[in-house]
């Protein structure tokens, strides 16, 4: 187990290096002259040169890449072209709302989707099953911002139950925080719930056909015990894997959800950075999100033994 963990941790290093290399080389492989694009249409040649120098585009690729990686390892992600603040500072200021939104969405989605999938598999072919599968197709088809606007229109504007937009920091109280995040979380969770429910159903269908389920039935175990103790436990590995992979959907969706609900998080920072063509900020956010994504999936991989003690490395 320990040897496996070490190997698995070491294996993420090349992946992260490739992510960094890729994010960095976008500046070089993008068609056209990125310095001119970032400078904008009204820029003077001096502006373009200044930006080219600040991005390091005037120096050799490998040297610049080495410097960049070295700086990141020392916690320096460069300086925003627009605000002149260090990118790390800007990220620190915006990280709380995004983490709140994603953690709440994750909890909400898992606690809704897993029971949905389990019940759909148990009642395979019934109207409940068809409703869950129908919901899953809808969840994949209706984009995040559409769900967001519909929810905000119904529950915030028409019924006036929840605030339309904005964010309240967690330290100002749990309920104001929750009130502001509940609609964004549901909107963001749509695709994620669809994904998890589908995989849960598929895995459960397979597990429910196993012999040990029949044995459990024969010895008189209750339906709930069979579903949630015997079956779900054995279906856990694929479900947990998909929960980890699906975090990519949450990250992409957060960018949009934060715009719809005016949440001042990292997604909003990304959108602002795009409108100002502030590439160092975009680079920093993309890199951060990708590393978090890789790390979460690494942790999930390492946690497999908790869910399934039969797995021995």
């Amino acid at each position: 187990m320990f040897a496996y963990a070490v190997r698995r941790v070491l294996a993420t290093i090349p992946v992260m290096a490739i992510v960094a290399l890729f994010v960095f080389s976008l500046l070089y492989i993008a068609p056209g002259d990125p310095a001119a694009v970032i400078a904008g249409d009204q820029a003077t040649p001096q502006d373009v040169e200044r930006i080219r120098a600040s991005l390091g585009l005037d120096r050799p690729f490998l040297i610049r890449f080495g410097e960049w990686v070295w700086n990141i390892l020392n916690g320096d992600m460069g300086v925003s072209i627009f605000t002149n603040l260090p990118v790390t500072t800007m990220i620190q200021q915006r990280i709380e709302p995004t983490v709140s939104l994603m953690v709440l969405t994750l909890c909400l989605a898992v606690s809704i989707a897993v029971p949905m999938g389990v019940i759909a598999a148990w009642k395979q072919g019934s109207w409940i099953d068809r409703a869950v599968m129908g919901f899953a197709v809808l969840g994949f088809s209706v984009p995040v911002f559409v769900v967001g606007y519909v929810l905000a229109y119904i529950f915030a504007l028409e019924l006036d139950w929840l605030p339309v937009q904005g964010y309240t920091a967690f330290r100002e109280g749990f309920f104001p925080w929750l009130e502001n995040l509940i609609l964004p979380s549901i909107a963001l969770g749509g695709v994620y719930i669809a994904l998890i429910a589908r995989i849960t159903r598929a895995t459960m269908l397979e597990v429910l056909q196993q012999d040990y389920i029949r044995t459990a039935r024969a010895k008189g175990a209750g339906q709930r015990n069979i579903l949630f103790l015997h079956a779900l436990k054995n279906a856990a590995v694929p479900i947990v894997t998909v929960i980890g992979i699906g975090i990519a959907l949450l990250i992409g969706g957060a960018v949009v959800t934060e715009s719809v609900f005016a949440i001042p998080g990292l997604g909003r920072l990304t959108v602002d950075a795009i409108l100002r063509r502030d590439y160092p900020v975009i680079q920093g956010v993309v890199l951060l999100f990708s590393f978090v994504y890789v790390l979460v999936n690494l942790l999930i991989d390492l946690a497999y033994t908790l869910f399934d003690p039969r797995i021995r490395y």
Binding site: P14, V15, M16, A17, I18, V19, L21, F22, V23, L26, L27, A30, P31, G32, P34, V37, I38, V137, L138, F140, S141, V142, P143, V144, F145, V146, Y149, V150, Y153, L157, V164, R198, I199, A202, L205, E206, A248, L249, I251, G252, G253, V255, V256, S259, V260, T270, V271, A273, I274, L275, R277, Y279, I282, Q283, V285, V286, F289, S290, Y293, V294
Partner: protein, 306 residues
Amino acid sequence: MSSAVLSSAPPQEVAAAPPMGDVLPPVKPKRGLIGFIRRNPTMAIGAFLLLLMVSIAVFAPLLWTVDPTALAPARRTREPSAMYWFGTDMLGRDVYSRVLYGARISLIVGFSVAFFASVIGLTIGLVSGYVRWADSIIMRIMDGMMSIPSILLAIALMALTRGSVQNVILAITIAEIPRVSRLVRGVVLSLREQPYVDAAVAAGSRTPRIILRHILPNTLAPITVQATYVCGAAMITEAILSFIGAGTPPIIPSWGNIMAEGRALWQVKPYIVFFPAVFLSITVLAINLLGDGLRDALDPRMAKRV
């Protein structure tokens, strides 16, 4: 067992199985369009809706639309009415015409990304799955690319290029390639263990011929299914990119752009956001239904699983 027993007639005491025709009446599958719809209802609904959207996009000029970019400050933000079916936006442009013309952008982006991502992903996947030494290099690169959430990757690319439909297609294609490549590689890895591939190797076929004649045709079914999902995802990504201001230029009426423009007014004039949102959702739904139907039809074993 001696040959005498084998050649002799079955003993009388063993009842011979009656001809199957007596037990099971022959099931004649219905032919023609009706039969197809009966057998594949999801695919039929998806295909019908998609066809509807494609016709709307193609025949937009004939469907009582006006110039979707014509400004008319005098008739700003009119509610939907007999005159302006979907109302007008904050610059007085007819939302109905804009939404219909917007179908063109979404469909062009969706289909182009599905096509290019499939072709490139197929090539990479075939090479990676069949050429051992290239596999580990290619797959490490794909792993790295897949670690960047695809919308963020598209956003980063768009931040470095000028907004245009071509660049949107390019950015989304690059973001979708790793997933397609991984899928094809997986299929190829299982196909190359098949006995008929061994037979081809034994018969002296060269590698390119084996890939083209024996491996490639068998990857087409899964890649067609995957292409439909890529198409739907690409349309959503295009709308998201345009919505946050990193997609098609604002002059072009795409669904994402119409929503981006309606965003400032959505609390008082929700219809500007509503109509493109409904059209986008229906189109993506149609493509996903088509994909689900195709998957069930092409791979009956998978049908019961996901």
